[in-house]
Symmetry: C2
Subunit: 297 residues, 2 copies
DNA sequence: TTATAATGATGAATATAAATGATATTTTTT
DNA sequence: AAAAAATATCATTTATATTCATCATTATAA
């Protein structure tokens, strides 16, 4: 079927470069008879004269010259491919597909990804946020490689690592009646407008861990995609929101915001990174978790 | 050394397309065990996981996907190369390098080359006119494939075919004193200005076969490269020239020229095409000589 | 020119790699 | 649970490459 092989191109190229079978053989780690046979067989199989023998030197025919230019074009691509494969093998190259099940973590993620990209110049990072069968489904079906989530679901084949703790607090703007207050009860939110990310309320801790146990619902709920806008809204008194304390602290100097503890003890949260156990030996993946657990900046 | 082979790419591509080893095997004319082995060996040699086994189907890993895109890029080039080689083998493709040792023949050559290019769409024609070691040297050293010459030099390894006969005549313009004359003697040219191509006089038949035998030299000699200009000069009475009769006939309607026989019997010439005997089986080359000997237009 | 060193060609022997058939194992379907 | 379909594995055969030893040819130097 297919007769033209990579070796053939290598032989054509090397013989042309060195001008002799013996020299070309040395470079290809072959003996001279091996090349002599190979050369004959190539011509036989391709059905074309590739070399003209003048004295004891081989000179390319037209077909041979054409093949040489082909070789010069294709062979570097093979070499490059092998380099790349080695990088894949060493876990130096790949795409790290991160799935996010934690909206405010986006901010935090950026701080981890930046130094990571420096460290792994050949690794690309891709962040995804929507999964048909949930984050766990996405990681099990190989849709993503790492899952950032506050809800580890211990399943065989999966592996979760806690990367940071934070407290979920209520954010209020400067003109708000709760501004300056230390802690808040569920009842105090009954008359508020609550701003949240656009996800079902059973995935929002402010509901599951604070309001619902007390049987309270806020007067109104607004859904906003991005954290920045959400905080601008809060700063201008259009509502209150539940966010990580570190996030509020980060924005406070710009927007004049205030954090209020939710209940007596506050709501403590933890973020986990999940990955497949089969990826245990993928360097760039393991290393990402290292970066996440212990940020370098 | 080099592990990534064309087969490997073919297997990766075919397995990805068919989704099963059995089906891919059928398309590659291999049995299923052969592929099963091959697949394992490829991964082993490359040192990278290329497929993930889910149930009994093989799914490409990142490295595998990368290899697949490589395969899609490189494999067509191999196929194309093999097509081209077949054309080389069948003598359908190549460059026909024609060497010219006969200035006025350029006109004639164009009439042969046009239909020839139609017939052999994949053959390129290249015409050369200057050779360091003469036309014979050029053809022997593979610098050209066909030599157009009035002087066949029978050498072992070379093969000459006469392609057309013509008479070398003297051309004069309408106001010239020889206009309308039937034949001319060498003595009658002693007072003329002779226009020739810029080559040594020993390569001009008007000298070697007409003037020198009679010990005559023209009053003046002018050298001009192109036939058109030469004839314009002749038409305007700036001199006379020795050219093939058919060439003069071709220009006569435009320039009002007259041909005069050189001597009693005229100078008969013949043009030959020379080629190497080793090229006897190169179809497109043999065919060119056919076209030249028996023009189709 | 002749001797000499270097190179290519050739054939038999060997080593390596690839493909096969039979069969076991796994996964999917019913 | 049984049947069907696919893959994996093994021993064997077949095909392909490589080498060694040797000869023939060609270039180089004496």
């Amino acid at each position: 079927m297919s007769v033209l092989q990579r070796n053939h191109l290598m032989i054509i190229q090397e013989v042309a470069r060195e001008g002799s079978l013996t020299a070309a053989g040395a470079r290809l780690n072959l003996t001279q008879p091996a090349l002599s046979h190979a050369v004959r067989k190539i011509e036989m199989q391709l059905g074309v004269k590739i070399w003209r023998r003048e004295g004891r030197s081989l000179i390319l025919t037209q077909a041979g010259q054409w093949l040489l230019s082909l070789a010069n074009r294709l062979l570097p691509q093979f070499s490059l491919a092998e380099e790349r494969l080695e990088q894949f093998a060493n876990g130096e190259r790949g795409t790290l597909r991160i799935g996010m099940e934690c909206h405010p973590c986006y901010q935090w993620l950026l701080n981890v990804v930046s130094p990571y990209l420096e460290r792994w110049p050949k690794v690309d990072v891709d962040v995804r946020q929507k999964f048909q069968f949930g984050g766990i489904g996405a990681i099990l079906s190989n849709e993503i490689d790492i899952l950032v989530t506050p809800d580890p679901l211990y399943k065989p084949g999966l592996n979760f690592t806690p990367v940071f703790d934070y407290e979920l607090v209520l954010v209020v703007g400067s003109g708000h009646r709760l501004y300056g207050v230390d802690r808040v009860t569920p009842e105090q939110l009954a008359d508020e407008t609550l701003i949240t990310y656009p996800v079902p309320s059973e995935r929002l801790d402010i509901y599951t861990q604070f309001l619902q146990p007390a049987g309270i619902a806020p007067r109104q709920q607004k859904q906003i995609e991005t954290t920045d806008i959400m905080l601008v809204m809060v700063a201008h008194g259009r509502g209150v929101a539940a966010l990580p304390r570190w996030l509020v602290d980060e924005y406070a100097p710009r927007f004049d915001l205030h954090s209020v503890r939710l209940g007596e003890t506050g709501i403590a949260k933890q973020i986990f990174l999940g990955r497949r156990e089969t990826d245990a030996d993928v360097q760039y993946l393991t290393d990402f978790i290292g970066f996440a657990a212990d940020p370098k900046d």
